[in-house]
């Protein structure tokens, strides 16, 4: 085999392997991109902000609570209140009630989403029952609390927003 052929072949094989890696690199890149732009309704999770002054805006924004169960998870989920009037800059608590309707222990996991998409950049949660496995024993009912704040920078044209939770059956081997 010619030396040139060997070199070209090797380079091209490396390039192919690199592109295989790029496919996987798209996964974290996509998450970063969604975080920055706030598309996808993914909300940011923050600890209560210390250096923020306690100035509360005099605006009132309506927050609506939505609850869904995905697929064949035998649970019921509903918010304690359907909606709330909140002032941006102040922390509030909302409670969801989740109930297992079978007599077997089941592990579920909730995924939150905020719409309109633009609002998800300004919706901060300091406490949430999402993204972690939740075990419900047979027929058990639990109250789950979300503590949140709507950022004062929320664009003026957003007068109401919806926080939606969907409970999924947790995948085996996922924590």
């Amino acid at each position: 085999m010619q030396r040139g052929v060997k070199k070209t072949t090797l380079k091209l094989f490396l390039f192919a392997i690199l592109m295989f890696g790029f496919g996987y690199a798209m996964v974290p890149l996509y998450d970063v991109f969604c975080d920055i732009t706030g598309i996808n309704g993914k909300t940011s999770r923050v600890v209560e902000n210390k250096n923020q002054s306690n100035v509360v805006s005099d605006r009132w924004v309506k927050v609506k609570f939505d609850a869904n169960i995905n697929g064949n998870l035998p649970w019921r989920l509903k918010p304690q209140v359907r909606n709330m009037k909140v002032q941006p800059g102040k922390f509030y608590e909302a409670t969801y009630i989740v109930e297992n309707i079978l007599d077997v222990d089941i592990v579920g996991q909730a995924i939150p989403s905020v719409s309109p998409q633009i609002a998800s950049l300004y919706f901060k949660k300091s406490e949430c029952f999402c993204f972690v496995n939740q075990l419900l024993k047979g027929y058990e009912t639990k109250e789950m609390v979300v503590r949140f704040e709507v950022d004062k920078e929320l664009p003026d044209d957003v007068t109401s927003l919806t926080l939606s939770y969907t409970f999924f059956r947790a995948k085996a081997g996922n924590s």
Binding site: V5, F13, L18, G23, I39, K171, N174
Partner: protein, 529 residues
């Protein structure tokens, strides 16, 4: 020429099964690829016939919806990966060494391997149709979560895709290694025939995009069987991510299918217009810019997933931008014909039809590229009409043109010109009867991938089905013409077409088993385009 006499003297070849199974000869492997592509063209085509039969009238007549969906899915996979791509690689194998004056491909053993992977990959894929639960039916785009509901067919589908990817990447590496290292002295890059150029660029597209698809389908596999959550919202993943990964591969793939066709037409039109190709350098640059741009337009396939408005605008403008180099190419083909001494043999007819019909497909593509309009057209028959214009009356017409153009060089005999013309005209009319009404169906709102439809779509569907059956039967004529030509006929001269330029016409017809074992001495005339 002394080199030719030398070649003939050494023209001994292995015989029997061994010749084909262990072949490292670029011409034999090219023939294998082309025959395989033809067989797959008929396998995929018969699935299309089932689809058109079911759609002939509203209601469910012949097949159940699950099977219908698997027909749609497997038809696409077979036509793309089994027919159009291998046909292109077959032509590249046969013609590139002849066109650049090389004795063979740079990596003959890898060449053998990349072909023989294909039959096994398609055996895996097609076997799923006979399994419990049926074949993959989630569409060739394999979107999760739907595709994850595929039964036992699922791992077969994924591994078939892996094999196809490996085969294509090896083929692409081989082509680049050949062109970069084995050209005859004097054959500089900018003197290469345009068919070689388009294949070099296509090869880069293959190497850059197929590994990404391989990664994407591997994620599907681990999501289903190994508990990962790349695309599963329950585990924090996102199904839309798959669409990004898929179309990052999928859009360059469109040009992987189209660029070799551009190359073919750029060989055929100058030969029958008896004029050099207009704007050779601009053709090379246009092809390269199409290839580069193709990596920045993928999200126009997914305008409706809820992209931010800025993203939609970016992908819309980038898509419009591709129309510029494509327009350059169409202009150059027309300018090549302008005031040429044209004759209309079958290859030329197919190439001219390509220019016109591919442009129609390009225009409907532009319409689909406009974001607000796409919200109406998305997932309707308008999309089906669009991509069949660019793939069937585009890519496949160009491949037909190539076969008629080079068939005498391969077999040593002229094909039956009268039958060739009949094949062309029947194909032209039937394919338009088949696909043109689908534009109207799409605009009226008929969704794709549906076995039944509202009564208002009945007439256009009936017309489309008649066109489909006519096109399918017409292709049997093509097989007859090719077999007849392989068996005998008028002896072909070395330069089969009087206006044809390029090194491949300096060797006898049929091309001897070994050619250019010593590099040819290139004269100025041999390098004309």
């Amino acid at each position: 020429m002394s080199t030719l006499a030398h070649d003939d003297h050494h023209d001994h070849k292995p015989t029997g099964l061994k010749r084909w199974f262990f072949s490292t000869n670029h011409k034999d492997i090219g023939t294998l690829y082309l025959i395989f592509a033809l067989v797959m063209f008929f396998v995929g085509g018969s699935m299309a016939m089932i689809i058109r039969a079911e759609l002939f009238q509203p209601g469910l007549q012949f097949v159940d919806p699950q099977f219908y969906n698997s027909m749609v899915t497997v038809h696409a996979l077979i036509m793309i990966f089994g027919a159009v791509m291998p046909a292109g690689v077959g032509l590249a194998n046969w013609m590139i060494p002849l066109m650049v004056g090389a004795p063979d491909m740079a990596l003959p053993r890898m060449n053998n391997m990349s072909f023989w992977i294909l039959p096994f990959a398609f055996a895996l894929l097609i076997s799923t149709l006979f399994m419990e639960g049926g074949g993959p039916a989630g569409g060739w785009t394999m979107y999760p979560p739907l595709v994850l509901q595929t039964g036992n067919a699922f791992p077969f589908l994924i591994f078939a895709i892996h094999f196809l990817g490996v085969s294509s990447i090896m083929g692409a590496i081989n082509i680049i290694a050949t062109v970069f290292n084995m050209r005859a002295p004097g054959m500089t890059l900018m003197k290469m025939p345009l068919f070689v150029w388009t294949w070099v660029i296509t090869s880069f597209l293959l190497i850059a995009s197929l590994p990404v698809l391989a990664g994407g389908v591997t994620m599907l596999l681990t999501d289903k069987y190994f508990g990962t959550s790349f695309f599963d919202a329950a585990g924090g993943g996102d199904p839309v991510l798959f669409q990004h990964i898929f179309w990052f591969f999928g859009h360059p793939e469109v040009y992987i299918l189209a660029l070799p066709a551009f190359g073919i037409v750029s060989q055929v039109i100058p030969a029958f217009a008896r004029k050099p190709l207009f704007g050779y350098a601009s053709m090379v640059y246009a092809t390269a810019s199409i290839a580069i741009l193709s990596f920045f337009v993928w999200a126009h396939h997914m305008f409706t997933v809820g992209l931010p408005i800025k993203g939609e605008l970016f992908f819309m403008y980038a898509t419009m931008l591709i129309a510029v180099p494509t327009g350059v190419k169409v202009f150059n083909w027309i300018a090549t014909m302008w005031k040429g001494a044209m004759t209309f043999e079958t290859p030329m007819l197919f190439s001219i039809a390509f220019v016109i019909l591919f442009t129609i497909g390009g225009f409907s593509g532009l319409m689909l590229g406009i974001t607000p309009v796409d919200f109406q057209y998305h997932d309707t028959y308008f999309v089906v009409a669009h991509f069949h214009y660019v793939l069937l009356t585009g890519a496949i017409f160009a491949l037909m043109s190539a076969v008629y153009y080079w068939l005498p060089k391969w077999t040593g005999y002229m094909y039956d010109e009268r039958l060739g013309k009949i094949h062309f005209w029947l194909s032209l009319i039937s394919s338009n009867v088949l696909f043109f009404p689908q534009h109207f169906l799409g605009l009226a709102g008929m969704p794709r991938r549906i076995p039944d439809y509202n009564i208002q779509f009945a007439d256009f569907n009936a017309i489309s089905s008649i066109g489909g059956f006519a096109y399918g039967i017409t292709q049997l004529l093509f097989v007859y013409i090719v077999i007849k030509c392989a068996l005998g006929g008028k002896k072909a001269k070395p330069r089969v077409w009087e206006g044809a330029k390029g090194l491949e016409w300096t060797v006898p017809s049929p091309a001897p088993f070994h050619t250019f074992e010593t590099p040819p001495k290139l004269t100025k005339e041999m390098l004309e385009h």
